[in-house]
Amino acid sequence: MTHLPYIVGAYVIAIGMPLVLSFEALFRVRSARRRLQAIDPRRDRGRA
């Protein structure tokens, strides 16, 4: 397994990038939903 560092590196990058993009997207949705509810509290659009 002399090529183990290459394999581990590839898996770390491949798992890390979607994780980062997922968390960024979910935080953005949560933040937008919160701001929208603060401005337009009559409609719960984010959760709908």
């Binding site: 090529h3 997922s22 949705v29 937008a32 401005i39």
Partner: protein, 262 residues
């Protein structure tokens, strides 16, 4: 012919515009996104664990072949993501679909990220296999051009004060860039390359052993679901942010006593 039927949009336009309603999109996507994330995560985990721990070594490359289970799905998604970016741009230019502009803007960074992972994992596969991190081979170069197209699109849609002009310029770039997709696909057939030809095609049986094919398919389906989940979640955020901007502008206009444009 009555007035209503003559004013009705064509059938394809009607079905597309049904989903153009932001409220309907938010309701539908709110239910779909969690499923996409959970199912995508589980299928990806299954494919990667299978590929990493249980799939056999290659007779020539040994354990290095396990990089395939991450590299190939990202390579497919780099091209598929660009195709969906171009399709959104086409819908935006032809039908002025309100969500198509935002979809194109949100697909760009996700596609660029996935293409970067494709290039990085390919480089990590190339070093032990070819003895080089990078070669200006036809396949590698055309994927690098795809990465630059993504970056160009991201920059262009944000380069204008008027977002509509940015969307239009980005859409034209996206449609012109589609020419690169067949170049990527057939680069290994048209030129002598270090990169191996395709082992799986739409026509003909795969030339890869079933013990390697199944984990690869699981990994590819899982990452595809995650790509969709991330993109739809970003699109949800973009729709809400647009609504926030229009509400703030309406509030500011009413506070200053101006008439709010429709």
């Amino acid at each position: 012919m009555d007035a209503r039927s003559s004013a009705a949009p064509p059938r394809s336009g009607r079905s597309l515009h049904r989903f153009a309603n932001p409220g309907r999109f938010l309701r539908l996507s709110g239910k779909v996104v969690p499923w996409l994330f959970w199912v995508g995560g589980l299928v990806t985990a299954l494919g990667l664990i299978w590929g990493l721990l249980f799939a056999p070594d290659d007779w020539q490359q040994g354990a290095t072949v396990r990089i395939m289970y991450v590299h190939v799905p990202f390579a497919w998604l780099a091209s598929a993501g660009y195709f969906s970016l171009a399709a959104s741009s086409f819908v935006s230019l032809v039908w002025r679909h309100p969500l198509a502009d935002l979809a194109a803007v949100e697909i760009g960074p996700v596609g660029a990220g996935f293409t970067a992972v494709c290039l990085a994992t390919g480089s990590l596969w190339g070093k032990p296999t070819w003895g080089a991190w990078w070669v200006w081979d036809a396949r590698l170069t055309s994927v690098f051009v795809l990465f630059l197209l993504y970056l160009g699109h991201i920059a262009l849609v944000r380069a204008f004060d008027d977002p509509t002009r940015g969307y239009r310029a980005g859409a034209i770039l996206a449609l012109v860039g589609v020419i690169n997709l067949p170049v990527i696909k057939f680069s290994v057939d048209w030129w002598n390359t270090l990169h191996q030809p395709a082992s799986i095609g739409l026509t003909g049986a795969p030339t890869i052993a079933a013990s390697m094919l199944w984990p690869l398919l699981f990994s590819a389906i899982g990452f595809t679901l995650l790509f969709a989940a991330i993109t739809v979640a970003r699109l949800r955020a973009a729709v809400m942010e647009r609504r926030i901007r229009s509400l703030l502008m309406a509030q500011a206009s009413s506070a200053s006593g101006e008439e709010v444009p429709a």
